[in-house]
Amino acid sequence: MTIIDVPTDADLVRFVYAEARMLDEHRFDDWVNLFTEDGRYWMPLEWGQTDRRLTASLMDEDKLLLRVRAERLKGNRTFSQKPKSRCHHVLQAPQVDSRDDAAKTYALYTPFHYVETRLDEQQLFAGWARHTLVVEEGRLKIRLKRVDLVNCDAAFGNIQLFM
């Protein structure tokens, strides 16, 4: 992989596409490694939610919890994944909302449609991904991926993979 000093907008956008492809290809260990050690995957429960601590979220996973999920998906006794779920992302072109080259921190906004299937069931979700990306040791990493569903407060069945 090329070493990145200051990423171009094209580098940032390419990263977001590659991340979605990684999920669609079930490369979950690689995906978890895209996160910084203090990285988080956050899926709010409330519309326009600002608080993570004293307001419930659908997901608010640190890297440890993401590792647990990735390991669980591989497990021999993970019965909700026998057979396995599959997922499919359609992304709108990611938009670079802000660049801070001094801090090497970048914010992107990506509307998406996401399909998760298992057995005969297919579920469609729509939402917006907001990435906070940083450069660490010459590589882009995810410090925060916030996923807002358009129907975040609806009653859902299982959501087992990642948007």
Binding site: R53, R77, A155, Q160
Partner: protein
């Protein structure tokens, strides 16, 4: 009366048509579904049984409506349901909490559908602007003269929004019973209220508030499977090996097996992997009318880290001895028959809402202990997210089992579900007991109550 025929959806297209009225008007047939150690599959899959539950079971029992902190001011309301009935809980002008049927007496329109809101001094139907006081009584109708000399004052509509007569606000928790028949509040719950007491007593102010938001999780299974699961202590180490077991293993790997302080998430997951002996030893207590709880002596909530500043506040409020007694109680899951479970030590309530024989909405509510440190609510919310959310790996483990059971019960090879673990015929004469923590007595207790309240008004 003509005999209607229908095909039970739960039996699939291959099943032959069945007579519709197998159970309606036939309390003996309903009672026969519950044996001493078995229950018939129809309690989970049959549409007619489900309809009878909506008409009888959810009318003759006391059901949780909401918490009075959701309607703090006069005119505040909260929309919900009891069984299949649309319900509004509202703070009346006299300060009491009232429970009304959420239906305009005119054309049936639901008066409000937006969860929590404020009506002000009166409800106004959005269809024809009929207005109602917050006790449901009719206030005004536009162009009222159109009803002059029509005998309107004798109509059902003139009575306004129907109010539920049997309502009890118990330390902030509002319960209602729709039928005039059935036991009173104290008789129905009896000593089981000690679990609610303990949950509320954990606030230094003796007060809870709904906080954090509600997690809503749709299940394609019968609601009773979820209620049974609440005191099923032989499944965690099996069904949750994939989630809790993996969490324990990943933490071991990441921490290098050190005995350092475990993160909050690991503290929450790890006890699910406790061995059978742990669950046997924790004990189960059964009460009359289908109530009961796991975790008499200890539970999966016993070993959480102390929250700085909390014990001091409890001692200041209650004195040391009483504070210790409150906090030493670590009841795991308390089932309030028919469809509520609370976790006192972490201030969490789950309600298993029946939507169909094979469809259940699970709502998981959380409460703030008034005057206690925020970290307690933070932990409660983390527990709820990790265990009860539609995105929760523990939830995935459980739902997979319920849905497999819902489908497996179509098998004609054996129509009976077994609830025999640690059965002793002597229990039939015992209304209340503390016993081995892996017993299925509490499940049997629920089904005995189910047969009683199903047939009480049949």
């Amino acid at each position: 009366m003509s005999m209607n025929l229908y095909t039970s959806p739960a039996s699939g297209p291959a099943a032959s048509p069945r007579p519709y009225a197998r159970y309606r008007g036939n309390p003996e047939a309903v009672r026969a579904l519950v044996r001493e150690t078995e229950v018939h599959r129809d309690v989970y899959i049959d549409q007619e049984i489900f309809d009878l539950e909506m008409e009888h079971l959810f009318h003759t029992t006391w059901n949780y409506v909401g918490h009075d902190s959701q309607v703090p001011n006069v005119g505040d309301y909260f929309t919900t349901s009891i069984g299949a009935q649309p319900i509004i809980m509202v703070r009346h002008t006299d300060g009491s909490v009232r429970v009304l049927y959420n239906r305009c007496p005119h054309k049936g329109t639901k008066i409000a559908i937006d969860g929590c809101g404020t009506a002000g001094k009166f409800f106004r139907c959005p269809y024809h602007a009929w207005t109602f006081r917050t006790d449901g009584s009719l206030l005004a109708i536009p162009l009222k003269k159109g009803y002059d000399q029509t005998g309107f004052e004798n109509s059902d509509a003139a009575k306004g929004m129907a109010a539920v007569a049997n309502v009890k606000n118990y330390r902030g928790f509002v319960f209602a019973k729709l039928s005039a028949k059935g036991p009173g509040f104290e008789e129905f719950f009896g000593e089981s209220l000690s679990s609610l007491d303990n949950m509320v007593d954990r606030s230094p102010a003796g007060k809870l508030e709904v906080a954090g938001g509600v997690l809503r999780y749709m299940h394609k299974c019968n609601w009773k499977m979820l209620v049974e699961n609440q005191t099923d202590t032989c499944h965690p180490m099996v069904a949750h090996e994939s989630s809790a077991g993996t969490a324990v293993n990943v933490w071991k790997e990441v921490s290098g097996g050190s005995n350092g302080k475990r993160p909050m998430a690991v503290e929450i997951f790890a006890p699910f992997m406790s061995p059978y002996e742990f669950f046997e030893g924790m004990g189960i207590r059964v009460w009359p009318n289908g109530h009961g709880h796991t975790g008499v002596s200890h539970s999966i909530h016993s070993d959480y880290s102390a929250v700085p500043g909390y014990f001091e506040k409890m001692v200041a409020a209650y004195g040391e001895e009483r504070a210790k007694a409150i906090l030493d109680e670590n009841r795991h899951n308390t089932v309030y028959f028919p469809n509520v479970m609370i976790k006192g030590p972490i201030q969490l309530l789950r309600i298993f809402r029946p939507l169909g024989p094979d469809k259940t909405l699970v709502e998981s509510w959380t409460y703030r202990l008034v005057d206690a440190p925020d970290m307690l609510l933070e932990r409660t919310l983390m527990y709820n997210r990790l265990i009860n959310a539609p995105t929760s790996v523990v939830g995935h483990d459980d739902l997979e089992m319920y849905e497999r059971a819902q489908e497996g019960l179509r098998s004609d090879a054996n129509p009976w579900v077994n609830v025999q673990r640690l059965y002793d015929p002597a229990e039939l004469a015992q209304e209340q007991a503390v016993t081995n923590g892996t017993t299925e007595w509490q499940m049997r207790n629920q089904f005995r109550a189910w047969a009683k309240f199903m047939t009480m008004t049949m």
